[in-house]
């Protein structure tokens, strides 16, 4: 996890392992913990927006992944599923540490690849998080750019008289 933080200086990874008890929704718990939690061993230069949280519940035998707003444009739900799937075989046998390592290894691979893609085409990822344009503004824009058709602009058709 430290090496991950070295390779990705903006981010950090944390793992929560424990029984969630009555909290049956793993996603809700991850969402709450990453928004409200304070990670003491993480520097102040790395806010929770740059965090990736893996929650493992050994009792209910379920695991989930939550990430902050920094990764929002670059990380998708499919990527998190791929990372967790790498650990599935280990977690089935109760080998949580090995599973986490496998998962982090794949996470590093995905993020490094995505970083290169972002460098090549940053607009593509920026568009994913850009604020959608309101419908009224869009109509106004279309009307503003519209100009009436002048007669001279119409091409004369030289028709053939029957």
């Amino acid at each position: 996890m430290e090496r991950f933080g070295v390779s990705f200086p903006q981010m950090f990874v944390s793992v929560y392992t424990g029984s969630l008890g009555e909290i049956s929704n793993l996603r809700q718990f991850g969402f709450w913990l990453l928004n409200r939690g304070v990670f003491e061993d993480v520097g102040v230069e790395k806010p929770n927006e740059a965090g990736i949280l893996i929650v493992i519940d050994p009792d209910s035998k379920a695991a989930g992944m939550t990430f902050g707003y920094l990764l929002d444009p670059f990380f998708e739900e499919q990527d998190t599923f791929d990372c967790l799937s790498r650990a599935h075989a280990h977690w089935l046998e109760g080998l949580y540490c090995e599973g986490i390592l496998r998962s982090l290894r794949h996470l590093r691979k995905v993020l490094s690849k995505r970083c290169r893609q972002v460098r090549r085409d940053p607009e593509k990822y920026e568009r994913k998080v850009a604020t959608p344009v309101a419908v009224g503004d869009l109509v106004r824009k279309i009307r503003g750019e519209h100009r009436p058709v002048v007669a001279s602009d119409v091409p004369k058709e030289e028709g053939v008289e029957p």
């Binding site: 939550t66 707003y69 929002d72 444009p73 970083c115 998080v129």
Partner: protein, 342 residues
């Protein structure tokens, strides 16, 4: 009455028979005269006088002269020792041929046969074989040290195996190696080589056939010693069969097998493969080093907060690992629609 007289006579006769006859007695004067003259035969036995005890202290020790140095030298000589006239021919210089027989214990034809075989061996092996022939019961003089001879004559030049062979008594044979190959071929291996050669020699009763068999087996053993010195022998000499059936003394089959030589193109191909492998290894190491040092930084875009989360709303996947029979894709809990980005 007759019976009474007969009984009395018989009893008196028995009485006289039981009593021992008295010893003859010397007349005192006669005895003195005889003693004065010198000696009386049985005088000490035929007498009632007790014998006087011999006084051992009166005996004087016998004095025997110690042997002189010359007598010792003469008595130390063994008549079976190799005569001094041959010692120079045997041990003075390195022999010109591989067979050393100045006593002509072998006939001329036998010497030629053995010389031919030893020359053939020398031409085919990197280790020469020298054979010193002695008589069956001959002794090498004690002032000649075989090891010293080998060290003195065979330290320089082509390595050699020197055999002191006793014609008709192969079990007395000894083998010495040049100092160059002594370290490579252990003493145990040398002993085994000698033993197997002696066993081969005992397969025949004739002296010349024995030496033939001995040398053929020793030649085979030297071939393996040659391989050991070259570092290519993969098996010890213990595992070597005692003789190769196809090879004999008279057919002059080479005792050395042809080594497998890698062709030039093979060496070049191997060099290319090794170089390519090394290059790939270097490149991979450099890549790993570079990947360890590279830092990935993402562009920071303004993201509109969602779901009331001030820091995060990236709800990822959830998988269950409750059942090993179901793949993770089947245990995947889909993200509800209301949690997805609009």
């Amino acid at each position: 009455m007759k019976w009474v007289l007969f009984t009395l006579l018989l009893g008196s006769h028995f009485a006289t028979a039981i009593t021992e006859p008295p010893l003859p007695l010397w007349d005192a004067e006669d005895r003195k005269n005889m003693i004065a003259e010198g000696w009386i035969a049985g005088g000490s036995l035929f007498t009632y006088e007790t014998l006087p005890l011999e006084d051992s202290t009166d005996e004087t020790p016998l004095y025997v002269e110690e042997p002189t140095a010359e007598e010792l030298a003469v008595s130390g000589e063994d008549e079976n020792e190799v005569s001094e006239e041959y010692l120079t021919a045997y041990f003075a210089d390195k022999p010109a041929g591989h067979l050393v027989d100045p006593q002509d214990l072998l006939s001329t034809r036998e010497q030629k046969d053995l010389e031919a075989f030893l020359d053939y061996h020398a031409g085919d092996s990197s280790i020469d074989m020298y054979v010193y022939v002695f008589g069956a019961d001959q002794q090498i003089p004690s002032d000649v040290r075989e090891e010293e001879v080998v060290e003195r004559l065979y330290s320089v030049g082509k390595p050699a195996v020197v055999t002191y062979y006793y014609l008709g008594a192969p079990q007395r044979s000894t083998v010495y190696l040049s100092p160059v190959i002594t370290d490579t071929v252990s003493a145990a291996e040398q002993r085994r080589a000698l033993e197997s050669s002696v066993m081969q020699a005992f397969g025949s009763a004739k002296a010349f056939e024995q030496v033939e068999a001995f040398l053929v087996q020793m030649s085979i053993r030297i071939y393996w010693m040659d391989r050991m010195t070259a570092g290519t022998a993969v098996e010890t000499m213990e595992k070597i069969p005692h003789s190769d059936g196809a090879r004999g003394f008279h057919n002059k089959k080479p005792p050395v097998q042809k080594r497998f030589k890698i062709p030039v193109w093979g060496k070049m191909a191997a060099a290319v493969v090794v170089a390519a492998g090394g290059g790939i290894l270097v490149l991979w190491s450099a890549l790993m080093w570079w990947r360890g040092r590279v830092r990935y930084r993402f562009a920071e875009f303004d993201v509109e907060p969602r779901l009331g989360g001030s820091h995060a709303a990236g709800i990822g996947a959830v998988i269950s690992f409750a059942s090993p029979a179901i793949p993770p894709a089947m245990q995947r809990n889909q993200v509800p629609d209301y949690m997805r980005r609009a």
